[in-house]
């Protein structure tokens, strides 16, 4: 198959065409230094495809921060009805790390029992990927997520002049391109993209061992001093878990209406770094200390779920360390653990 190129005009046409079919969300610039978020497209000119990372990952469109799971009435007799709100949606401009993360959540939300709300939204979701601009915090290469070969319908590789080399991932992706003017890519253009992707995989922020060995370095490290060291300035504010594209924990609360006649059951983003997360009804808290919570989060990402699902539950996007006010860094933590395994001193991240 020939490799094709879509130019700036074609990208605009593509977005306009997709807007006829579904709600389209794409990265937009926000107020603040280097801040972007996925927002519904109103004017294709406002889309910003060249961005480092979005504040919240695109998981919010399949797993919103707050959603109703159930509506119920208490009178005249109790009745309840499950609520699944979903609509056709196209995520336009998703980075490889975030595509990897969505696939990870597909695994987590379908492995033991299917989560109907997640599944309904993912079934109505189409995805156009775009290659990324790394910044000083991301470490996708260390997680093996600098490039992906599945999880998208279309993928756009930037050629630098507003045009993109187009990869088609699915039949739905091919349909998206119908009626859009494309041209054949030159050998130079293909080489240009290949070269950039090769460089991407050699990113600077590295862990000092192979990714597949990560769970080994967590083995026997529950009492390591690493946790106290890195938790010293931790706020337990929950930012790292709430902005994490592979975190999927939630709290469930019943909200009875003031009339006391009806109510809803809501699920809200929650996470293991928040102090009340491991508190049980008797008031006991299984992870009272910040260091215990930090340890748990990292064991989940690089040991428990890695072992369970055979892949790190971290996509290396770096949102956690970037948005952490004190920049608690998983790469530094992992390298400290690796150094401990090797009986040496860490060279840091």
């Amino acid at each position: 198959m020939t490799v094709r190129v879509i130019d700036k005009h074609g990208v605009r046409k593509l977005v306009e065409k997709l807007q006829q079919e579904a709600k389209v969300v794409a990265p937009h610039r926000r107020e603040g230094r280097d801040q972007w978020s996925f927002q519904e497209v109103t004017d294709p000119d406002l889309i910003c495809l060249e961005y480092t990372t979005s504040c919240l990952p695109p998981k919010e469109f399949a797993f919103p921060p707050r959603e109703t799971l159930l509506r119920y009435q208490r009178e005249p007799e109790f009745a309840a009805e499950a609520v699944i709100q979903s609509e056709p949606i196209i995520l336009f401009g998703v980075h490889p790390c975030d595509i990897y993360a969505l696939e990870s959540l597909d695994i987590a939300y379908c492995a033991d029992h299917g989560d109907p709300n997640w599944i309904a939204r993912r079934q109505q979701m189409r995805l156009v990927g775009v290659d990324c601009i790394p910044d000083e915090w991301c470490f996708c290469a260390a997680m093996g997520t600098a490039t992906v070969d599945s999880g998208y319908d279309l993928f756009l590789n930037n050629l630098g002049d507003g045009s993109y080399l187009v990869e088609v991932g699915t039949e739905a992706g091919e349909e998206m391109l119908e009626g859009i003017e494309l041209r054949e890519a030159s050998a130079e253009e293909i080489a240009h993209v290949k070269k950039r992707l090769t460089q991407r995989v050699k990113q600077e922020r590295k862990i000092n061992d192979e990714t597949r060995n990560l769970p080994l370095h967590f083995s026997g490290k529950a009492q390591s001093e690493v946790w106290e060291k890195h938790a010293e300035r931790c706020y337990s504010c929950g930012t790292c878990v709430l902005v994490c594209p592979t975190c999927y924990c939630f709290d469930v609360v019943d909200e009875v209406a003031l009339t006391l006649k009806e109510g809803t059951r809501e699920r809200i983003w929650d996470g293991c770094m928040l102090e009340s997360f491991a508190e049980v009804a008797s008031g006991e808290n299984f992870r009272e200390e910040r260091a215990q919570r930090l340890r748990h989060r990292h064991f989940r990402k690089y040991a428990y779920l890695f072992t369970k699902y055979g892949r790190p539950f971290c996509c290396g996007c770096g949102r956690c360390v970037r948005q952490c006010l004190v920049h608690i860094d998983p790469v530094a933590i992992i390298n400290d653990l690796i150094a401990e395994s090797k009986g040496g001193v860490s060279r840091g991240a």
């Binding site: 603040g32 978020s37 504040c55 504010c237 003031l258 009339t259 102090e275 006010l325 004190v326």
Partner: protein, 245 residues
């Protein structure tokens, strides 16, 4: 029998009482759950037969001390509402000065005639059963509390910080806009109201149960604040210190 509710005000702007009055779309439902029997901002009737006393304002005169003790005797539940009643809020800023100096600063020579004592939260004078923080209180939190009490449930304050709520709101961190914020240590429950509307958090709901205050002092200093400015951020709503009483 519906619980009989009273609202009392001490040293404050009575904005928290007003917040209850402003629950215009919900007041009729609230009246199905409780009966208001005493509330100077809203009604002329009065009563000493009270189940739940909501109290806004700090205790800052000898007369306040006497009255809040009376209220404690009368009511089955005493629930401070708003920063002034919850942790003495802004009022406690005066506690770092001498009381004679405070009177002089505000009223000049005429100040001598007024009775004032260091401001304290309601809980420093009488035992309380629950408390709603905030300047002013969050309307929805008040309504949930009334509902929970009517259902016989124990109401609970959220313990996660404002940072967590900013993330759930999809807000951009105000530090990236050049502002300084108390969000990492401030008790949430307001839905990150101020950062959601372009401002920063001043921790009007007090701090979470275990704030990492030292870390935040360092962070604010790293973002360019002087030691005195850091203390101003910390003390605006949270300067009440028992040792000053």
């Amino acid at each position: 029998m519906k619980p009989r509710v009273a609202v009392f005000s001490f040293t404050c702007c009575e904005g928290c009482s007003l917040t209850i009055l402003e629950c215009e779309n919900e007041l009729l439902d609230v009246l199905n759950l409780v009966t208001f029997v005493r509330w100077r901002e809203a009604m002329t009737e009065t009563s000493d037969d009270i189940d739940i006393a909501f109290v806004d304002g700090s205790i800052s005169t000898h007369d306040d001390v006497r009255k809040i003790k009376q209220i404690r005797e009368m009511a089955k539940l005493v629930i401070p509402i708003g920063a002034c009643a919850y942790n003495a809020g802004l009022n406690s800023l005066k506690n770092r000065y001498g009381m004679a100096q405070v009177k002089e600063m505000v009223y000049g020579e005429d100040g001598a005639q007024f009775d004032t004592i260091p401001a304290r939260p309601v809980s420093a004078v009488v035992p309380v059963d629950f408390a709603l923080p905030g300047c002013p209180i969050d309307k929805d939190e008040f309504l949930r509390t009334v509902r929970d009490l009517a259902l016989g449930k124990t109401p609970k304050l959220p313990d996660s910080p404002v940072c967590a709520e900013c993330k759930r709101q999809g807000n951009v961190c105000v530090f990236t806009k050049g502002m300084k914020c108390m969000g990492p240590v401030a008790r949430g429950g307001c839905g990150a109201l101020c950062p959601s509307f372009g401002d920063y958090c001043e921790a009007c709901r007090g701090f979470v149960d275990n704030p990492n205050e030292n870390s935040h002092k360092e962070t604010l200093a790293e973002y360019g604040l002087t030691a005195a400015e850091v203390m101003n951020y910390f003390s605006l709503f949270n300067s009440y210190d028992k040792s000053q009483i």
